[in-house]
Assembly symmetry: C2
């Protein structure tokens, strides 16, 4: 599928970092739209649509307020700019701790990858247990990009158990029960993202999925050989 | 071994919550001492001695500053008091979020258990790879409580790999590489505590060790049956 790709003007302070584009199919009728695949979710489950958009396009940044904790949520493609360009946006990387810089730079991704991540996450959401049913137009759009959709087939990327759409509404101690996950935490693209249980994502930490599985395999064999 | 158990007066604002006692062997010579087993570590590795004392006797509390995040580190036995008594110490539990209250109450432990936890952690530290060698008096004291000490035998409670004393000095992004762990996170006593890698402790989360092992066992079998 080819996108319309017409430039959409934005009032974002970071407009210079990437041109926002229309992702309706090329030759579409009606208005241009950067996230046409989210239109239905925006109506029936706005918080899920917002989460997809946010996780796809923004870094996590700092969860707490502190002088040197770094900015809280910033566009991932802005993090592709070098320190000098960032300074023009008022972000002085030299003032941040090395750990914060590493964390921010790890989350960098180009604009087109972020859009495809958002579309992939939407495709996955519609295949969760108890998910809303997408309008035909959106289903076809997403299938065109990522293949046929099968109800109830979305598994936690990490533990491989089915994910229930209702988990989006479940938060324990203020933390959502479903998180956006990366098979390899350092790559933000549509092949590498998915959803997972919060506890699974935390357990995986900075490891790739392969590293995580061999790590827990090692634990299991040491525990078994001990008893 | 019987402790001296003579009351040690303290200027702590929480003095009423528990009487501090001398844990030198009964009939000892010299001054009374609440933590005689830490005297050597206090000299050769003060930060490790402080960590043992802190983790054994204090709750973690909130890592960030916030009106309703709860107090940052409070004596575990103070958390055994009921809300009314806590109010007298200026701690209004009714002002805290349910999640914070649960977290604080989970960490409650009586004074004697905390002292034994500190002693057990000290016993484990001396058996880590590259640990300092304890003076005979302290070794005998600890062996009397927890059994014979074997150099290089302290394993991560969770992953069962040997722990190196030097990991205490290693911090990644400001977080210590070794943490105090609980086989069952809700019980703070000497049988249930040990040391573990930070990443292992995070992965275990709120699960007991048994729950954690069967959880990762399930992941491994699903991943294997998938490929």
């Amino acid at each position: 599928m080819k996108f319309c790709n017409k430039i959409i003007t934005t009032r974002s302070q970071y407009a210079g970092a990437a041109q926002h584009k229309c992702h309706c199919p090329k030759g579409h009728s009606g208005e241009c739209n950067e996230f046409p695949f989210l239109e239905h979710l925006k109506t029936v489950a706005p918080s899920v649509a917002n989460k997809i958009k946010r996780d796809a396009t923004m870094t996590t940044g700092a969860a707490w307020k502190s002088e040197n904790a770094g900015p809280n949520r910033i566009l991932r493609w802005v993090m592709m700019l070098d320190d000098e360009d960032l300074l023009e946006y008022g972000l002085d990387m030299s003032k941040l701790k090395p750990g914060v810089i590493a964390k921010l730079r790890e989350k960098a991704a180009d604009y087109d990858s972020c859009i495809l991540v958002a579309a992939k996450l939407t495709w996955l959401v519609y295949q969760m247990e108890n998910a809303p049913i997408p309008p035909t137009e959106i289903r076809k759009y997403l299938e065109n990009l990522f293949g046929e959709m099968e109800p109830n087939s979305t598994l936690c990327v990490i533990c491989k158990l089915p994910l229930d759409f209702n988990l989006f509404n479940l938060a324990v101690r203020g933390k959502a029960a479903i998180e956006t996950c990366h098979k390899n935490p350092r790559m933000h693209n549509s092949d590498n993202v998915g959803f997972g249980h919060r506890e699974c994502n935390i357990a995986q930490g900075n490891k790739s999925l392969d590293e995580f599985y061999s790590w827990i395999n090692g634990i299991i064999s040491r525990v078994n050989s001990e008893s």
